[in-house]
Symmetry: C2
Subunit: 657 residues, 2 copies
């Protein structure tokens, strides 16, 4: 590192993304990327121990500390760990898809996210700052320090009925005198039930010397089973000033909530998982602070949305009974807690507010999404859905809401699918089939050779095969087709998507009848849930003003093809709206508006949960939905018409061939 | 200890008090005394290290572990440490006055305590218990555990708008299921300001399996500068079931609040004093539990009254600015805190509520006393006073109250008096003088030979000397009297109360002109404070319906003689009422009645504090009061008349002699 000089400036160019940044010679490459807004995954926080931040040095020179995370082959190709590399000359850097997984997820989410969200809310953050200059005490006016402060706040800002945290009382005398009686007070309003007689009662959670109103920040978090997303919010400007995402460290203890709950039954298991997610949160906070240069003591609050299991584990509450019938959470509304008491590295005064939940499998993430999407603000009906292993659905408007969760199984995440993988580099996502010879045309994430099929790809493949007549509406292969792509494999009939030589894995990538069956079960569970709910409130698809699709997976699906297979109701495409991470959206918006925070409580209370697991209607609907798109053609009139037409064309075509 | 058998019963007789108890052979003598209700002081808690629990074995045999706290002479006299002695045979025990100091103080306090207290309050303890049997969850009704609990409380007891402590949420799932959905919930109402729109909002602080309503206790404490008094309250029966008193361990760090505050300025000084008083509190709690056999987990709350300095130190709040002009406390109202967070050995759910204060030198103890005495309930005027080194006075009624503190100095505690001692065995308390020969007749506490003069004795002596014409109204000795009792000593003129051979100390016990001067300064400060306050609100002594005297010292003074020297206003004796430890009284009553707890907040807010330290009126009144009883004879018409008469009689008598 002796060759570098901090005075000399060099330019670093990042691909893909075409981002340039000028940094001092000797700057750490990971830091340069972060400063440039290039999102490189570094799960160990830049310690060099995880090997996730590998980048390709296409041009120029870095100094590197080599660790055992880098193979000889990689080293010779020019691959380096960004966190272990320091800039020497101008550089051209390629960030491979593995290292920018989160970036990919985030950008994929946002590309189709609608701007139509909750409306009409006032910018009134629950966290507020007030600056007061107080007259110093005299013998004529020697009220207590606290009385003086409260009097000042009342006179200057008409604030009354404040409660005061004991931690504030503890440092009050010193701060007032050190600052010559000029102080900034932070207050927090937590939503209260809006019954008559109750009012919002702000609590004083901090006092700082001088005028610190400019430094006024909070955090919004979505704690997902797979990923944790955080945003740093500037509460003066109503802006996101930094954001970050990371895998939930709990993944090592199981991929879904059921295995996590099971882990909690082990000795100290709950404590372990609680600490693990807190570590993930702390890593994200560290990155947010690093990106924004905000000091940790100016963060006054955390708004957290997560499903019921994630919320209970974060708070250290035994999740056992979420998993056991009749599936009861400990509570739907949790009191705010001191974030630092959970091990979260923020200052003592910062409180953590968790979104209220509806039931064991309809959690604060859904309430947050519903509020963020403004479902509760409209008279017209909305169908809100978050598709995944556990799919949550909500139907309602400003007057009422019903909700349910449908256990779809892991097919949408690539689970139980022969060549299924999570949405990552090399996953087949787009699929088209040439009607004349039934040859496939595939596209993968990152444009590389394929290595598997992700959930959204699976939907597109099955829809394509159905429309081409390669499979029938029962999901079985047409066994009399003039193509070698359909063949009998070790798991029964299958369609070859890519020959071994065209893949990264050196094997044929196929989709099997078993895979199709698994997808049909998954989509049937979602649709049967929707049907059961809508029947229970006496509405039909035609009554829906809009369908809101939340969640990372949902944002990447093709609407038309999802309707074709019977996952989504048969409605015009323009009625579907993607909101991306609705949970994070709601956490952000409620950080900006106490009105919406009040709404969140109200929404959680007004939602009626339907327990589908032993519901007879649901079982009947489920069986009827085990067909493409559905046993009852009238449920999917458009699709049925299209399929009939295609079949005719197809027949014609094949006859003329 | 091998000789004793737990099967054999023996009888222990305690004097004075004439108490018998039958215990098993081998029982510890201190424990036997506690079980018999005989109060023996054991400041080290029975570890054998303090030597305060010495008793005289008059008859019978004990086994003893001898420590260095017992001199050879004591041992030969039959004195033993009770905590280090175990019962062998039937015993007759004499508890000397030193070992029952607290008993003496307590009983002295109560002998003249009036029953006229706060009236008309409902028995509605802020701490309540509710038993509910909940229907177990089903698939049709799988509300969260907390919702189920709150629903049950609403249906059965019409409780709504509850807030719930996080600690309760944490154990909720387990307790509900372990107890088969039959649980007892403890709620706590903390007083809220009674402005429109505010309501009492009970918080759920504990949940226990089964029906535990019978076990329903709380603690009331007075934290005094010198002594700490605690009572264990049965909240079902509205009864005190155990009480205990101990010296505040902080005494080792200084006798008054000023030296304690000074100590807090040392490194870790505040922490040290905080821990010290907590240790005292813990010792008292231990004794209360031992007396009552109540289990610690059934104590749900602590109500604590103390002066502003004691309260701030207990809560760990820097008391520095109480001592520095313009004398500002940190706060008048303190949020409730978890008692265990201060180191107090109660269960986690128990909250500690400290009485609100008015000013740096008018603390929660005075507010507590005023509420306990019902001053705020009467239209007619009350003068409330707590006499001591720091004398606090209050004048007011149900509509208004004014208050002040008067720095009387330590004379009332025996400080600054040549032979002054605290009220303990051998302290001269009663004094009469034979007009014919001016010889004294004295009585001491415990009836032993005298060893000094306590504060109440000092008042009686000065009044007696004044009435006998031995001293003049200026406090100076009449130097032409036919008695050798008045003589010139090393500190100027003095009166010999006891000759060396009659005393425990082997020296003449005298009262000097300097002593009298110090007492005059002390009483002048109190009276000047009263005068200044009453003038400020435009009332005279005639307007006072009653005078309430609170505090351990106050309870032992002679009213007539206190009027004679000008300490108390010249009013008929029947207008004076003793309430003993008003601070403890208020803490107890507010533990029994949420109405009174609300009153405490209101009283603290309605009191207007007058800062006397640089008040010109006060200074003038003080100078005028440096006379016996007062420079202005019309302030004390009865006394003036009596003195005139006595002087005449005296002249006549001496002429005829």
């Amino acid at each position: 590192m002796t060759k570098t000089s901090p005075d000399k400036k060099v330019k670093v160019h990042f691909d893909p993304g075409n981002v340039d940044i000028v940094v001092e010679q000797g700057e750490n490459l990971l830091q340069a990327a972060i400063a440039a807004g290039v999102r490189i995954y570094a799960s160990c926080g830049g310690a060099g121990t995880c090997g996730t931040c590998k980048v390709l040095i296409e041009k120029g020179q870095v100094e590197t500390t080599r660790t055992d995370k880098l193979s000889d082959e990689e080293y010779q190709q020019g691959i380096r760990q960004a966190c272990q590399s320091w800039v020497v000359t101008d550089l051209t850097i390629y960030v491979p898809v593995e290292s920018r997984l989160e970036k990919a997820v985030l950008s994929r989410e946002q590309k189709r996210v609608s701007e139509v969200l909750a409306t009409g809310w006032r910018f009134t953050p629950p966290l507020s700052k007030f600056f007061v200059e107080l007259p110093p005490p005299t013998l004529e006016d020697n009220a207590s320090d606290l009385s003086r402060l409260l009097r000042g706040l009342r006179q200057r800002y008409h604030l009354s009925n404040l409660s005061v945290d004991f931690e504030v009382v503890k440092k009050l005398a010193k701060v007032l005198r050190d600052s010559d009686w000029k102080v900034t007070v932070t207050t927090l309003v937590t939503a209260v039930k809006s019954r008559a007689g109750d009012r919002r009662r702000p609590r004083v959670i901090n006092i700082e010397p001088g005028d610190t109103r400019e430094k006024h920040y909070s955090l919004a978090f979505d704690i997902g089973t797979t990923t944790v997303c955080g945003q740093l919010l500037d509460l003066n400007r109503g802006m996101v000033i930094a954001e970050s995402i990371a895998y939930n460290g709990q993944i090592s203890y199981g991929e879904d909530v059921i295995t996590r709950i099971a882990y909690c039954q082990k000795p100290r298991g709950l404590k372990k998982l609680q600490q693990t997610v807190v570590t993930t949160i702390n890593e994200i906070i560290e990155e947010l602070l690093s990106q924004s240069k905000v000091a940790i003591e100016h963060i006054g609050h955390m708004m957290v949305a997560g499903n019921t299991t994630m919320t209970q584990i974060l708070l250290g509450l035994e999740p056992k009974y979420i998993r056991l019938a009749p599936y009861t959470p400990v509570a739907n509304f949790f009191p705010p807690v001191e974030a630092s008491s959970l091990g979260i590295k923020v200052s003592n005064q910062a409180h953590l507010y968790t979104f209220p939940a509806v039931a064991s499998y309809v959690g604060g993430d859904i309430v947050s999404g519903v509020v963020g999407a403004g479902v509760h603000q409209r008279k017209n009906l909305t169908f809100f859905m978050d598709i995944g292993t556990n799919g949550e659905i909500v139907i309602g408007n400003s007057d009422w809401m019903v909700t349910a969760s449908c256990s779809a199984g892991p097919a949408f995440e690539g689970g139980g699918i022969k060549h299924g993988i999570v949405a990552s580099q090399g996953a087949i996502e787009e699929f088209n089939i040439k009607p004349s010879n039934l040859e496939p045309k595939i596209d993968t994430i990152g444009g590389t050779k394929p290595k598997g099929i992700c959930g959204s790809g699976l939907i597109n493949i099955v829809a394509g095969l159905l429309e081409a007549g390669v499979i029938g509406q029962n999901g079985k292969f047409n066994r009399n087709l003039p193509t070698k792509r359909v063949r009998k494999g070790s798991d029964g009939y299958e369609y070859v998507l890519a020959r071994a030589r065209e893949t990264q894995i050196g094997k044929d990538i196929v989709i099997t009848e078993v895979d199709i069956d698994n997808l049909m079960r998954a989509k049937a569970a979602m649709y049967a849930g929707y049907q059961t709910l809508s029947k229970s409130v006496g509405i039909s698809s035609r009554d829906l003003e809009q369908v809101i699709i939340a969640g990372a997976f949902g944002s990447n699906i093709n609407i038309e093809k999802s309707i074709t297979i019977g996952l989504l109701p048969d409605l015009p495409v323009d009625r579907f709206i993607f909101i991306g991470n609705g949970s994070l959206l709601g956490a952000r918006l409620t950080s900006f508006s106490t009105d919406l925070l009040d709404d969140a409580r109200r929404v959680a209370q007004m939602m009626t949960n339907f327990e589908l697991s032993e519901n007879v209607d649901f079982m009947n609907n489920y069986v009827a939905a085990l067909f493409l798109p559905h046993t009852h053609a009238k449920e999917f009139p458009t699709v049925s018409k299209k399929l009939a037409k295609l079949t005719n064309n197809d027949s014609k075509q094949r006859i003329t061939a």
